[in-house]
């Protein structure tokens, strides 16, 4: 890790931040398709808001800003938020939008109340907790980067190992279920992986905006490739680049990092949506006749996972 940081043509603190944010973006980009291709992007939003109470609770338990414990707390409450959304839908018959709205509210209000109650209790060392809302990479040290890299690498390894299962599941959950992969296992696995990506990013990007770092790279990559392997790789690259560039830029301009990273990644996605060679808006406008004549051109280009569009209905 050290050689990578020192080899960058940046001052040491910036280099640490750049490498750390790149790792975060890489993991988020690689895992984002798990949410996007399955029409679960807003589910990711509830989870990313769900990290906030965990961060604060982790702080309360540790009594100090102990990063691993705070991230553990974030992971637990994010997973709890995911469970709550599913529970509301399955057991109480809530509609998905209501379930997400309520869970998002529950998570966020809990986080805010804890945060403000703690702030007013005058606990020293808590002053930086509000950074977890919009992200603050400054103050990241090499050990944090190492933690991110190790946890992220585990998640990526899991994705690679289960790639075939996940591909089948993302493409056709029914088929996967019949083929012997229980749906709940796939759900659980992808939820846990998403939680990992969100938790790693919450400090740098912030709980409010973390979902965009999952979604934007995946949307950009989706425009450029139809193969899942290429999509995950490309998405990881977009995420990593936006993460590193955004964190450094934000540091120099003294802005919160989350919005900068999110806007960078979103710009890439917007450019891809507009100018992608085959699926881009421009490409479609240029061949209106073909588009009008053939229905197949709209949602399902050959070989593309058709699940992407299904969430909209």
């Amino acid at each position: 890790m050290n050689w990578l940081i020192t080899s960058l043509p940046l001052p040491y603190p910036e280099a640490v931040v750049a490498v750390g944010a790149a790792a975060i973006g890489l993991v988020a980009g690689a895992l984002g398709p798990l949410a996007v291709l399955r029409g679960r992007s807003m589910f990711g939003d509830a989870m990313s808001h769900g990290t906030l109470p965990g961060v604060v609770l982790g702080f309360v338990v540790a009594g100090t800003k102990h990063l691993p414990l705070m991230l553990l707390g974030a992971g637990l409450t994010a997973a709890l938020a995911a469970l709550a959304v599913i529970g509301l839908e399955r057991c109480a018959g809530s509609r998905p939008d209501v379930a997400i709205g309520v869970v998002l509210s529950a998570a966020f209000t809990t986080g805010i109340v804890l945060l403000t109650a703690l702030a007013s209790s005058g606990n020293a060392g808590q002053s930086g907790l509000a950074d977890y809302l919009f992200g603050q990479p400054a103050g990241m040290v090499e050990r944090d980067v190492l933690l991110t890299a190790v946890v992220g690498a585990c998640a990526l390894l899991a994705v690679t190992a289960c790639f075939r299962v996940l591909r089948t599941a993302a493409f056709d959950p029914g088929f996967a279920a019949v083929a012997g992969v229980p749906r709940w296992a796939v759900e659980a696995a992808s939820t846990v992986l998403l939680a990992v990506a969100i938790v790693l990013g919450v400090r740098t990007v912030g709980a409010v905006l973390m979902v965009a770092l999952l979604v934007a790279p995946a949307v950009a990559a989706r425009q450029l490739t139809t193969r899942l392997g290429g999509l995950v790789t490309l998405s990881a690259l977009v995420g990593g680049t936006s993460g590193a560039a955004g964190a450094v830029l934000a540091g120099r301009a003294e802005l919160p990092a989350g919005p900068v990273i999110v806007l960078l990644a979103t710009s890439v996605a917007v450019l891809a949506v507009l100018f992608a060679p085959r699926r881009g808006v421009l490409a479609r406008v240029r061949r209106p006749v073909a588009a009008a004549e053939s229905r197949s051109s709209a949602p399902g280009e050959a070989g593309a996972p058709p699940r992407e569009a299904s969430g909209a209905r």
Binding site: G39, R40, G101, P259
Partner: protein
């Protein structure tokens, strides 16, 4: 409870009234996340108006930011209808980006001058009693007037347009067939939601807007058997949470808006367990005996759409 506390409770209660009335219809129409989208889109509008006018002129802010939010949501909906971005990914892409723009604007250009990141998140309900307007010789808190006006306008709209609202929420095809312009009702609702979201921003910040809209309505949905009672319960939940939340915030010295939201979530949890017909307790105890009407268990967890 001091007079200042009372002003805070009243302001929050009036705001919750406006939000809960609209939220009830949104929840029933499957548009529960629309306020979330709108409140995200409204923030850059608020910053923009602030930059242009150099102040927080209420009317300019209300008109400008509402317009901006509505345009964003409409443009997004048109884009989605065109099939270019046909997924909830687009929602999770566009609205956080707009919000990012707003957050950057807030922290770059306006920090320290009545508009900063803290107020974006926590709102300024605590300061509600401090900013007053001279109204015929008496000093009246400004926010009380604004939220009161919002509540009155929303209530009037709901009463006046009751039938189109109910028809289009319950059975849009039937409504259209009987000559109701469903699209128009939808647009009107969107404008109203955006205006209330702008109003709410000052008091409760941008992120908690969705809480005020959705949680009381979702609570009421668990309890109510009829639409009129659902609206009444939603408003009541709003007021009770305003009172409970304010008291809790005083005890804990925490964010007032956050505490009110949390109180509403607590009431939702109570209703979820103990609601007479739909509560989990009732389901577990009576579900087996009495074969409750089947609901689709929602296989598409989390595939919700906001803004659609």
């Amino acid at each position: 409870m001091t007079a200042d506390d009372l002003v805070i409770v009243l302001t929050a209660g009036l705001l919750a009234t406006a939000c809960a009335l609209l939220g009830t219809f949104l929840v029933l129409r499957g548009r529960a996340l629309l306020p979330d989208a709108v409140s995200h889109a409204v923030l850059p509008g608020i910053v923009g108006v602030y930059l242009v006018t150099g102040g927080r002129n209420t009317i300019a802010m209300l008109l400008g930011a509402t317009l901006f939010g509505v345009v964003c949501v409409l443009a997004f909906q048109a884009l989605r209808r065109s099939g270019i971005v046909a997924s909830d990914a687009a929602i999770a892409l566009v609205f956080p980006a707009l919000f990012s723009l707003g957050v950057l604007g807030v922290s770059r250009y306006t920090s320290g001058v009545h508009l900063d990141l803290d107020s974006t998140i926590y709102g300024e309900l605590t300061f509600a009693p401090l900013r007053t307007l001279d109204l015929g010789g008496t000093q009246v808190p400004r926010s009380l007037l604004i939220t009161g006006a919002a509540a009155v306008v929303v209530l009037a709209v709901v009463v006046l347009f009751w039938r189109p609202l109910v028809l289009t929420s319950f059975d849009p095809e039937f409504a259209e067939a009987t000559g109701v312009r469903v699209r128009l009702v939808e647009r009107g609702l969107l404008v109203l939601v955006a205006a209330v979201a702008v109003t709410a921003f000052e008091s409760i910040g941008a992120i908690l807007v969705v809480t005020f809209f959705v949680v009381p309505a979702a609570t009421a949905q668990l309890v109510a058997r009829r639409l009129d009672s659902m609206l009444g319960i939603a408003v009541a939940v709003g007021w009770v949470s305003a009172l409970l939340g304010q008291r809790a915030a005083v005890r804990l010295d925490s964010s007032v808006a956050g505490s009110i939201g949390l109180a509403a979530v607590g009431l939702f949890a109570l209703a979820l367990v103990f609601a007479p017909r739909r509560g989990l307790w009732r389901r577990w105890r009576g579900g087996r005996r009495r074969g409750t009407p089947a609901r689709r268990p929602g296989p598409t967890a989390g595939s919700a759409t906001r803004g659609g």
